[in-house]
Point group: C2
Chain length 424, copies 2
């Protein structure tokens, strides 16, 4: 990383200050005004389809179509239509700002209220997905926040056009275009952004592990971390093995590339042969590579399971993001809990058991954003949980845990009204 | 700062891991068990008064009595009695953990609950005040958290005895002594603590600005920042000047060394002569040094106010923590809001006006943890707000804003129960 040239760093700070100033405009919008703004934005995105796809084509031409990022970058008529629909969906969600969280009259007569208010300026640092530009803008504006977008160089043409549409919409509604700002992609400017504590209230990095780590290690602005999911499913001795097998298969193969997919199966000794027998045909179909501990290895090799490997220690606690998983046979619930405590990334963890007591103990003891009994970890999702669109799954414990959605784009403010009250 | 010797760093990590493991024990305590634990702790502190004061005497003998830290370090019979009472007060507060925050049945039949759960391990880094050892322990245990205490070298003897009493109490209640751990004060070990993300869930630095800044800049663990208060009181043209003067005097002189005390008076042109006339005798009594802008300087010098200085630009946005303040005459509400936007540390801000519309606009527009109409900023306090003991006033926007008290020592957990549910 080069030294920041002070002139471009100054220009960036001026841009951030302008967004900080403009944030007061969005904060003061009424609920109806924010909805009208998003409806207009959705309409303008639909209207500008051709221009957006043209810019997207320019970005795509600079990328090798065999690069996995190509598909993430690609927009088409149907994807754009669904993006416009997402903006309308966000518009229909209840505004989290302005809600009174607490109201009391103090013994001294002071009237005290705690209300949810917009954060101010939300910054998002992301990579090639241009849909983030519209998703984040919709969520920020709906909750009364200004947005600072720092997208990737790969998507620069697309993001530029999308931002122009957003800014035109803002101006049409009588707002400053600075309410949503797209930052230059120069790498050396990132540090300026990460330390702009006066102008940016929250940062959300979205993308690779290394991006998230870099932001966490260098930011002075509070960061919401949407990290990796190392997800376990524990099949207890008293599990219904048909259910257990269906849940494990679903958690592994329905969408292996996402953070709530299964990485490790833990299974009680007694249940292991029955479970692995049921998994065998399904896992064969999907060619799931299994990294097995000695006991499960013995069982699976007796079945001549074709995609079998001996597990190394590092295969536990590993996020596979692929048709791969590790399997470990445990003695009991306690050993399963201990394993999860050691290897979990505290994202989503599941138990399968017909014993309600055992399920309760698992749900209470496991420290994770989402804990499941008799269901697939794949359900961890803002939409599924009824929160609407999400920016990611927070695996940290402060402010937001689990799906990070509209409802968390607010902070609190204490409002105190007196009649000349003093405190000696 | 020296290089960390890896052996002591390893020992520290082992200690943090032990506390992390022990945190499961506190998490699983019932409400009644947690109350019994705190009642027992309060009794044991009272019982051990003599031993605590003896250790405190050793710490005090190493410090110059004219050092302002001397009084912060000092314990006596009455201070210890009030510390024991604080523990009982925390015991009487409602347990924030275990509360169901949301409960819904999803269209697919999944039962979803969001509950408040303990954070796990809370770390506090503080300086000479040994009361923090007991306050933080009480708040952490009450809410089901383990605690890691890193006190200052000045208070080491006192903190060691207090921690021994805490640990004896834990063991007597059948818990591991690792639930509360006091760390060595070696400076080079701080970085090990700040990066122990696997074992510590939240860090709270308490003390000087430089300590807080160091923690913020070097911690990989989420930090709750309880920072400086640069607090304004704006006296509007339509203010009742008797009320205004009483509020300004109270906010400045009742306890100038605390973060919610007044730093700057903003006053509308028309109200300036009347306000300053009323402040004059009061401020003389307290010898309040006034850093005045040209207009207020002219008025005050006509009154021959004896402690008058011309304000330099850096006297605005300055936290005085003393019998000093700056005064600026403004044209109107807009100019006052602009000034506050530029100089506020977003802690506590007040307006004095009989115009309800103007007050509402101020309360809505000012971005701060606490905003006041017709009351002194000195009320920003967890106890006053009815939250019980506080660890500090958070001036950041994530997780907690304003008084950081028991209710915020929890995170959320999503609990999902199904009957074999899968998601394709």
């Amino acid at each position: 990383m080069q030294t920041t040239s002070s002139s471009s760093s100054d220009a960036l700070l001026a841009q951030l200050e302008a967004t900080h100033t403009a944030s007061a405009q969005v904060r003061n919008l009424s609920d109806a005004q924010k909805q009208a703004l998003l409806e207009r934005l959705a309409a303008n995105v639909a209207f500008a389809t051709e221009v957006i796809l043209e810019a997207n084509g320019k970005d795509l031409r600079r990328m090798d179509p065999s690069d996995p990022k190509y598909d993430r970058l690609l927009l088409d008529v149907s994807r754009l239509a669904s993006l416009a629909q997402s903006i309308r969906d966000v518009s229909a969600l209840p505004d989290p700002s302005g809600v009174t969280l607490l109201e009391r009259k103090l013994p001294n007569g002071l009237r005290l209220r705690k209300v949810a208010v917009p954060l101010g300026v939300v910054g998002v640092i992301y990579e090639s997905r241009p849909n983030v530009t519209l998703d984040v803008t919709a969520l920020c504006l709906r909750s009364g926040n200004a947005a600072v977008l720092r997208g990737g160089a790969d998507a620069f043409e697309t993001n530029t056009v999308l931002t122009r549409i957003i800014q035109t919409t803002l101006e049409h509604e009588g707002l400053s275009r600075d309410c949503v700002t797209l930052l230059p992609t120069d790498r050396e400017l990132i540090k300026t952004l990460l330390t702009a504590t006066r102008f940016v209230d929250m940062l959300i990095p979205r993308g690779s592990d290394s991006l998230i780590r870099f932001v966490r290690e260098n930011s002075l602005i509070p960061v919401i971390e949407t990290g990796a999911g190392v997800c376990h499913t524990y099949v207890h001795a008293a599990a219904n093995l048909d259910k257990a097998s269906a849940i494990v298969v679903n958690a592994k193969v329905s969408r292996p590339s996402v953070c709530n997919s299964l990485d490790t199966v833990l299974v009680d000794e007694g249940a292991a042969p029955g479970l692995l027998e049921r998994l065998d045909p399904e896992f064969r179909k999907w060619k799931v590579e299994v990294f097995a501990d000695p006991v499960s290895y013995a069982i699976l090799s007796r079945m001549a399971y074709p995609y079998l490997k001996e597990a190394n220690p590092e295969d536990f606690g590993r996020e596979f993001l692929d048709y791969k998983c590790s399997v470990k046979v445990v003695r009991n619930l306690e050993e399963a809990l201990g394993h999860i405590r050691q290897y979990s990334s505290r994202h989503s963890e599941a138990i399968v058991s017909e014993d309600a007591q055992v399920c309760r103990r698992f749900l209470e003891s496991v420290d994770a954003a989402a804990v499941y009994a008799n269901a697939s970890t794949r359900f961890t999702d803002g939409g599924v949980f009824g929160l609407g669109a999400e920016i990611g799954i927070s695996t940290q414990k402060l402010h937001a845990r689990g799906p990070f959605a509209l409802e968390k784009l607010v902070t609190e403010k204490w409002i105190v009204q007196g009649e000349g009250h003093v405190r000696w």
